[in-house]
Amino acid sequence: MELFRGVDVDWLGKKWYFLAFSLVFSVSGVLSILFWHGIKLGIDFRGGTLVYVQFEQAPNLDRIRQAMDRAGIHDSRIQAYGTADQKQVAISLAQKETQESSLDAGRETILKTLNANYSSTGAANPGKLDLDNASQGSLAQYLEQNDPEHLLSTGSAGQKYAQQAAAILNHRDKDLGGIFSSLDQLNGVADPAVVNQLKQGAYLSGFHVFAADIIGPQVGAALRRQALLATLYSLAGMLVYLWFRFELIYGVAAVVAVFHDTLITVGAFSLRDQEMTLTVIAALLTLIGYSMNDTIVVFDRIRENLRMSRRENLASVVNRSINQTLSRTVLTSGLTFLTVLSLYVFGGEVLRGFSFALVIGILIGTYSSIAVAAPMLVAYQEWRAKRGKQAVLPTGKKAKV
């Protein structure tokens, strides 16, 4: 099987279309960043409190919102997390509710509010243990205090109850996905005496906090700075490497292309009003590397072809090089795209932003090495020629391999 056999497309002839295409996308992204959605920062960059809650029954977001309002939290953001059948909700508080002197306060309030308002059983069960939110330590301690197996005199109580607690919570977290729907689900997981004790002394609140992120303003600011620096350093690192391996103009063209990809990807996030998080930055840096790969493959071929045919004009050499590598470029991008798509579809909510960035970035990155980087080389050459400078083709240094 073979696609793209003997392609002969005049890529450079279409440079104005490419320019228009790139402009439309990057400008609309920039406009969205400046005037519409802006860049929506994730909690790691802006600081704040984010609590992830799993509910036993399908959660009613309005009801949670009202409960939060009543508790005096008015600027909370409450949204469904993951797919509807996962019954998960992310509740976030803005930065100003998250002070470093009492970092935990926001989370505590959310928990208290949920406990008081959401679970019908919570308020009705004073002094009982909430098995949906119990930690291993607190469950073991509870069992030790009540000692259903009458072991305290034997000295093995601590170890025994710790084991039982671990088994129960392992069942809750690994088998049941974090939440009990009935205390009968305890049957057979722990010793009968322990199960009976819990059926009497524990209750199910109907929600389970499965993750929480609380980030103070200091850390947020530091991470913001770091992410920006990492992106810039990474671009600079590539520029230097390409300068060393090829010519400065190759490096500049590649970096411009990669910057173009980054801009469009970030713009896509802004257009979709999707949050930029630390992992999205990781994806962006990967894209920088990936898009650079594509560009280098084309550049390598240009360099090789220039060395072989010094008479031919640059535009046709570049065209030929793109055509020769087109098969590889499309195949590789297609395959990587396939894996990234699998990540986007199956990777779940945690990786959603990350894989979205890669999905967009790989498409744009492939496009840019053909439509941005290569034409730039030719445009630079023509500009030099116009200024009456030596019209020498940038043959590049010899490969130092």
């Binding site: 930690s135 291993q136 990474s234 840096l285 395959l335 990786l351």
Partner: protein
Amino acid sequence: MRKTILIIAVLLVFVFGIFRIPKGIGLSAWKTALTDNIHLGLDLKGGIHLVLQVMVQEAVGAETDNAVARIQADLQQSGISARVFKPDTKKPEVIQIQGTPADRGADVRSLLDSRYGAQYLISSEPNNNWILTMKGTEVQAIEQRAVQQSIDTIGTRINDLGVTEPTIQEYNLGTNQILVELPGVDDLSRVRDIIQSTARLEIHLVVGGPFPSEQAAMQSVGGTVPPEDEVMAYGGNEPELFGQYYVLQRLPVVAGDDFRDAQPSVDENGRPDATFILTRNAGDRFYQFTSANIGKSLAVVLDNRVQEAANIQQAIRDQGRITGLSKEKAENLSLMLRTGALPASIHYLQESVVGPSLGADSIRRGVLASIVGMLAVMIFMLVYYHGAGINADLALILNLIILLGFMGYSKAVLTLPGIAGVILTIGMGVDSNVLIFERIREELRAGKAPAAAVEQGFAHAWTTILDTHVTTIVSAIILFLFGTGPVKGFAITLSFGLFANLFTAVFVSRHIFDSILKRKQRGEALSIG
């Protein structure tokens, strides 16, 4: 042949890295072996991630508090009476001496210079005042020590919790910050209790009290609290003393690192308490102090609250007991005293908790995404390149084994973005193969014989492959240097994957081609789609 052996050896070495020696031959034994050797990050395993700020200026303050006491004693010994105090609570590094006799200026100067000149800048001010300011280098050294000591102390406390493989280290995101990562722990409040409680246990001399209000306490010392004293609220559990205040001497008689050991126990009425033993030096000092102050009161102060106050009935040497505690408090306090106090209090900058249910879900999804992605790629390669596709698929599998083996050997942590890194490596791993295969096809098309085409294909593709790998590794290294936690995990798998890929795509794949070619008849076509 030697190359085949080399490849098989590499394969075995890395398979060993992934599984070591499983404790059985069943599927579950292999699964356990796998999870034992590949270290999962917090986001997959569940756990707690904390960033703490050490309030280092408190350590500086404690050091100057000490100096105040020493200067006072030194001046007294030389027969100079003066008031030594810290004029500004916001500047813990400054000490002031007030009212030295006018005719003893030279003596004061020489005493301060000889004893304190190394640590402090000393200046004489008008009206027989002296100002000692701690030198910048000294402040820095104390701050650095405070951070290190906090790391050690938190480490010992966490060890007591029995967490496997905790991370407690200086955090380079800001200054004087500590990163704490506790895999498999989900009990944030207990961890907070154990870490945060500076459990600064001190014993102070009582100047007056208890008073019913803060004002009353201030009134008793003439309206304003002199720098040598302080007002402190009661924090024990005697109901009749709730809301009362004491005036205490500011400098403690016994403090932080004077405690050698402590154990929770119960008194004769079965109420929980904590018994402590002082170090030898502190014991001697305490003995002298208590013998000189029989009849006066001592206050046991826990985290800036008076826990209890009692008369000194006889000289005490090195053992004592703190009553009025709950069982849990007695246990925690004993742990704190045993492990040593934190040199300064701690602020939380970041707290992240990942529950085990989220981690388990993430693993499931990550693995599913990897398998689907990998199968899609492998099937495509077979369809598109026929025989050579097998070649690429073998290289891909070997790449995965090497990557996971690396993870097993290096104890690097696999995070969810790390799994994404694995998937991405699969995608990029075939890139090298595609480059080479396309090149070989081109050479074949140009009329070269299979052997020559393979030779040329690899030679030409190699330059490109090297360049692409180096640039990606550049971004991976930068990610590693800048990233934290999960992102770091991504950078690690990505770089390992790239290195493994250089080996599999270039060396292994080439070797398979060569051995196929060797068996073929001259002129027989190469199966490359």
